[in-house]
Symmetry: D3
Subunit: 273 residues, 6 copies
C-alpha cells in the first residue's frame, strides 16, 4: 500500500505554515509528536530548528516556493497568510493567490489532504443571537472573511475535481484564555485546537468538511453536528473564565455593531483606502 492510497495516523513529514504566528507557535510544539519531521514555514522569523524540525520560509504568493514547500510532505496544516482584517493587497497576495498556490502544489505533489485554517469571520455578519451551522450561507464580515471564503470554495473545487480532501477549520478565538464577553462564545483552548487539528488530519474520510473551532463553551453560536464524523470533541470550556471576564466588561453598548454581530470588532474595521 502506497502513501498515496492511505490516510496515515502518523506523518513522515508534516508541513505547518504560519508557524511563527500565535497559533503556529502553539502547534509547532504540539505537532512534533505526530510526525517524523515537522516542516515549518512562515515569512516571519522562525528561530532555530529543533530536532525533527526543518525550516522552509516561503512567501505564499511565490508559486515556485510553495511548490517546493509541499514537496515531500504527506500532510499540511495551513495557518499561513493574513489572519486579521487588512487592506486588500496583502490579503490578495497571501490569502487568495497564496491559497491557490497551495492547492496547485497539493495537486502537483499528489497530496491527499489539507487542513485549512478558515475563520469564523466567513459568517461574521450573523447576529450574536443566532445559532448557525456549516450550511448557513456565508456572510463574511470583511475582506479577510471574504478571502477565507475564497479558500473554502477553492478547496471544495479541488475536492470535487481532484479528490484532494480538506477540512476547513472556522477557528473562533484561540488564546490562553477568553479576553472578553464575545470570546465566551468563540474561545478555543490550545488543547482543543490540537485535538481539532489532529482529528482533521487523521479521520478516515473527510471529503470537504467545514467545522467551527471552539471549546465546549456554554454560550455557543455554532452547531457542529454536520462534522461529528471528524471525531472532534472539545474538552475545555470558557465557563471557568466567565466571572473574571464579566467583571472586566460589565456592560455592553447595544448600538455597537461589534456587540450585535458574531464577527465582533471585525465588523467595524476598515475600509482601507
Amino acid at each position: 500500500m502506497t502513501a498515496a492510497s492511505s490516510a496515515p495516523l502518523r506523518f513522515r513529514r508534516l508541513l505547518l505554515t504560519g508557524a511563527a504566528g500565535g497559533l503556529g507557535r502553539q502547534l509547532r510544539q504540539r505537532l512534533k509528536a505526530y510526525c517524523d519531521v515537522l516542516r515549518l514555514s512562515d515569512i516571519a522569523d522562525l528561530g532555530a530548528a529543533a530536532p525533527g524540525e526543518e525550516l522552509v520560509p516561503a512567501r505564499l504568493e511565490d508559486r515556485a516556493a510553495v511548490l517546493a514547500l509541499l514537496d515531500g510532505v504527506d500532510g499540511v496544516v495551513h495557518l499561513g497568510g493574513v489572519s486579521v482584517e487588512a487592506p486588500f493587497e496583502p490579503i490578495l497576495a497571501a490569502n487568495i493567490v497564496g491559497v491557490y498556490h497551495l492547492y496547485e502544489a497539493a495537486r502537483l505533489n499528489g497530496l491527499k489532504r489539507v487542513v485549512f485554517a478558515s475563520s469564523n469571520h466567513v459568517t461574521g455578519y450573523y447576529r450574536q443571537d443566532e445559532v448557525i451551522d456549516a450550511q448557513a450561507p456565508l456572510r463574511p464580515d470583511g475582506l479577510y472573511g471574504v478571502s477565507k471564503a475564497f479558500g473554502e470554495n477553492l478547496s471544495r473545487f479541488y475536492f470535487d475535481r481532484y479528490g484532494i480532501e480538506t477540512v476547513c477549520l472556522r477557528i473562533g478565538s484561540s488564546f490562553p484564555e477568553p479576553k472578553d464577553r464575545r470570546m465566551l462564545a468563540t474561545w478555543m483552548s490550545f488543547d482543543d485546537l490540537e485535538r481539532l487539528v489532529m482529528a482533521s488530519l487523521t479521520a478516515p474520510v473527510v471529503g470537504h468538511t467545514i467545522v467551527y473551532g471552539t471549546s465546549d463553551n456554554t454560550t455557543r453560536w455554532y452547531d457542529n453536528r454536520c462534522a461529528r464524523h471528524l471525531g472532534f470533541r472539545p474538552l475545555d470550556s470558557s465557563e471557568p473564565f466567565r466571572a473574571a471576564v464579566e467583571a472586566r466588561q460589565p456592560t455592553l453598548d447595544h448600538q455597537d455593531p461589534a456587540v450585535i454581530y458574531q464577527g465582533g470588532a471585525f465588523v467595524r474595521t476598515g475600509p482601507f483606502e
Copy 2:
C-alpha cells in the same frame, strides 16, 4: 454609558412579577443576589418585604398600575398572570390585556429587555413521541397556551418595532421533583430555573429568543439548539427520580390524550362555559 445603551450583569432594581406563585417564591429568594433592589409584585399576598425588597402589588389589567410598576426598573422577570388552564375571562385580563400593559410600560419606561414566562403549553398538542424546536409551528393545548402564544407574538412585535428584547421561557414543569412520568421529560429543577433566568437576563444579545425550560433530562421532547447563544446549560436531571416515579405510575392508558400529547392533562381540561 447610560443604562439605555448597556446590558447589565447586575441590576439596580429588578422586577419580579407573579412573585407570590410557586416559581415566584423560588426566584424571590434567588434573584436578590443579582440586584440592589428586588421589586416584587403579585395580586396575592407577598408577606413582608425583606431587606433589599420592595413590594408593589398590581393588577396586570390596570394599565396605570403596570406603568408605575415598571417605573425605575432596569430588568423584568414576568411570571405574573394565570398559569394554568382556566376560563377565558381571567386569562384575557391577566395574560392578554396584562401582557399588553407590560410591554407598553416597557416601551414608555425605556426598558431594554424582558424575560417572559411563556409555557410548554404553546406546543402542547405535539405528541409525546415528537421532538420539536423553537421554530415548530405553535399548537397550543388550551386557552392558557393560546394566551402565552399571544405574549410571544406581542413581544416579537415589540422587538421588531421598538427594539425591546425578550426571552420567552417555555417552562416545562418546575417543582421540587418530578411528580409523574410526563415530568421525566418536562421537569426543571429550581437551580436550573435560576440558571435559565439569569442567562436570559444577562446574555449580551438576545433579540427575540425562544427557549424551552427543562433540566438536562434523558427523556426530552424539546431541542434548544436555536438558543445556545443564551449560555444556558442545565446541570440537573430528572433521571435520579425515574425509579420512584415509575414505581408510582407503572402503567399508562394509551387511549388517554394526556398520555399521547406533550401538554399532558392540559389537553383534557375545559371547556369552561
Copy 3:
C-alpha cells in the same frame, strides 16, 4: 348522512361576517350563488336584505349575540372585526374576544369549518426581499397583526381539541386594482378572492390550513406550496397594472420602513397611547 358528518359543496345557510366592509360587500354579491340563505352580519349598516339574504347585526364582543349568529348555519366566512392597525381596545374587543366568541359558538353549534380572514400582517416584519411560506415564524407588524395571530392560534387549538377545521386566509390587498408598488406583490383581485373563499369552504379536508391570499402576481413574497390541497389557483395578476403603478410611484425611499418591510405602511402606524 347528517350535515355534521359531511363537507357540503352547497350551503343551506352560509354566514358572512363583516359584510358591510370592503371585502364583505364584494363577497355578499358573490356568495349568494353557493347557498340557499346568506346570513349577513356587521355592526355597520347592511342596507336592505335582498332575496335569499338575512341580516343579523351582532357585536362580536357580545357572546350571546355571536352564539345566536351561528345558530343554524352550516358555513362561516369570518371577515368581521377591525381590519386595520388601531388602538388596542377595539382590536381586543373584536379580534380577540370576538374571535373567541366565534369559535365557542362554532363549537356549541356543532359547526365543522370556519374560513377565517387572517392577514399578511401576521408576517409583516419580514423584508420585501424575503419569500416566506406558511411555516415561517410569525412576525406581526402591529397590534392588528398580533390579533390575527391570536385568531390563527386559537383556531389551531379548536381543530386539535374539537376537530373544527379552519382555513386562515392571510389576505394581501384586495382592491379593484393595485394602488402602489407594494400591491404589485400583495394584490388579490375580487375574482381570486371568491375563488379562494370557495375553495376553502368546499375542499374535502382542510384540517388547519394557512394560505396567503394574492393573485398570481409576478412579484411575490409568499409561497403557498403547503396549501395546494385547497385547490386554489389564482387566475388574475397585478402585472397588467404595473406600468401605471410604476408611473405614479417612480421612486421609493429606501430609508422608509414601509418600503423595506412586507407590512408596508402598517410598520409605521402607531403607537396609540
Copy 4:
C-alpha cells in the same frame, strides 16, 4: 386497567427472538430482570432453559409457528432473522416473510409494541463524512439492508393502520469492543444495547420511532435528536479503544468502498447468483 390499554414497565412474558445469536445471547442474560417469563426463540440451538425462561423455537417463515410464538406475550424484542448480507432466498424467508408473520401475529394477538432490530445498513450508502438522521432517505447497502427497510416500512404501516407501536433500532456494531476504525463510529457496548432496548420497551409513547444504536462515541455519523423522547442516553464510548484500534489499522485505502461508505464491508459483499 387491562394490559391492552397500558404500557408496562415490567413484563409478564417478554419474547426475545434471535436469542441464540450474538446480541441475543447478551440480551438473554439481561432481559430476564425485567419480566416474569422470558420466552426465547431461534432456529439455532438455545441450550437449556434457565429458571424463568421458556424456549419456543420457531421458523419465521412458518406463519402458524409465529402466531403461536407471540401468543400470550406482552412485549417483543425481535432480533430474529438473517443479520448479515446473504443471498436473497434466506433473507426473503426470514426478514421479509418472517417480519410479515411477526406483525400479523402482533395484530392477531393484540400486542401493542414491538422493538425491531433494524440496521445501520438501511443507510449504508451514505459516505463516512456525512452525518444523517432518521429522516434521511434510505440508501441500503445490500439485500440485507433492503430487507430491514422492508421491516421499517411494514411496521410503519402497522402503526398507521392498527396502532401497533414499533421502535426500529438501527443497530451499529455491538461487540465486546470495537474491532476496526469503522467501529469507532458504529460501536455500541452491550450495556448501551440493554439501555436502548429497555428504553424502547418502556417509554410511554413511541408511535413509530427510528433510532440509531451506538454508544456515545466521539466519532459519529448518526444524529438521534428525533428520538430523544425514548429516554435513551448511551453511557459508553469507543474512545478508550481508539489507540489500540488505530495501532492495528494505521492506514486505510481510500479507493476501497468499504472505507468510503458507512456500510463498511457490506458495500462490497455479493452479488450472490
Copy 5:
C-alpha cells in the same frame, strides 16, 4: 459508442411489463412510436402481436423467465405485478420476488435504466390536507404500498451499487377521467402518463429519481420540485371534470379514513387473513 455508454432517445427494443393491464394497454399503443421493437409481457392474455411488437409472457417470480425477458432490451417500463391491495402471497411473489428478479436481470443484462411503476400508496397515510414531496418519509397504506416501497429501496441499492438508474413513478390515478373527488388531486391523463414515461426513459441523467405522476391538477398533494430535471411537465388537468365529479359526490363523510388520508379507499382495505 456502445449502447452501454449512452442514453438513447429511441430504443431498439423496449420492454413493457404489465402490458395487459389498464395502463399497460394505454402504453402499448403509445410506446411503439419510440422504439423499433416493443416487447410486451404479462401473465394475462396479450392478444396478437401487432407489427413491431413481440409478446413474451413471463411470471415475475420465475427468475429464469425474467432473465430471458430482459435479454436484448435497451429500455424497460415495468408496470408488471399486483397493482391493488391484495393478500400478501401474490404481492410477495410479483412485487417483491418479481422486482428482485427484474433488477437482477437488468444487472446481468447490462441494462442501464429502469422506469418503475411505484405508487402514491407508498405515502398513502399522509392526510389529504398535507402536501408532500419525494423526500417525505414513507407511510404506506397497505401491503401493496409496502411492496412498492420495497421496489423503491431495492432500485436505490442497484443504483448505488451497480449504477443502474431508475425513475420511480408514484402514479396517482390514471383513468380516462377522474371518477371521484379524491381523483381531482390524483388524476393523471393518459397523455400525461405518456409524457412522464418518455421523459423518464430519455432524460440524460436520472440517477435514482422519485416523481409523483399526476396531471397539472389545481388540487394537489404532491410537490415534484425535486424531479424537475426529468423534463416532465403535465399539460392536462382534472379541473374541467370538477363540476361533474362534485355533482356526483356532493358530500363526504369526515369520519371515513378514505376521506382523511391520501391513500383513499386503500386505507380501509384488508386485512386479508
Copy 6:
C-alpha cells in the same frame, strides 16, 4: 428626494460593463430604452457610440479607471471580466481584483445597487439529476466558478457593511437558441435575459439576492422560489428547440463528467499550468 434615497425605474446614466461580449452586445441594444445615457465599457473594441451612448473603456484591474467608470452613474450591470474557464492570472485580474475595484467604486460613488453577472458555474459540481436553490452550498466547477463565488461573497459583505444592494445573476446559457441537450435545462433567451436584468435593476428592495437565470424550460435544475420578490417571470422556453437538439445529439456518454454534472464541459476544462 435625492437619488441616494430612491430606487429609480428609469436611469439617468446606466453603466454596462463587458459591453463588447456576447451578452453585452445584446444588452447594449436593449438597455438604452431604460436610461438617458448608457455608458458602455469593455477592454475589447466597442465600435462607435450611438446616440445616448458613451464609451468608457477600462481595465477592471485598474482601480482608478474603475473609480472613474462608476462616477456619475446611478445603475450598474456588471458583465465584465473573464466569462469562461481560464488560467488563474486573467481570472484573478478581472474577476477578483476587478470585482473588488467595482465594489469600492460603488461605495465611493454612493451607488446603491449593482446587478452582478455571476454564473451557474458556482454550483457546477451538482449532478444533473439534482434540483438546487440559491441556498445550496456552493460547488464551483473551476477557477471561473470560484471567482464568481468570490464576487457573490464580496457583494454580500458590501451589502451587510455598506447597504449596497446586489442581485447576483447565476446566468445559465444565453444564446440565440439552445445548442445541446444540457442547454435544454440552462438556456435563457435574450428577451428573458432583458426581463431578468430589468427586474433586478428596478425591484423596490433586493438586499442581496441570488437568482438563477434561465428561461421557463421544462427541464430545470434550479429552483428560484427564494427570488420571486424580484418580479422576474421568464416567458420563453427551450422546449420548442428540443426535437432539433435531440436529433443532433441522440446519445450521451454516461461516463463523461460533462454529462453527469450541471457544469457541463467546464468540469473537464483545465488544469492550466
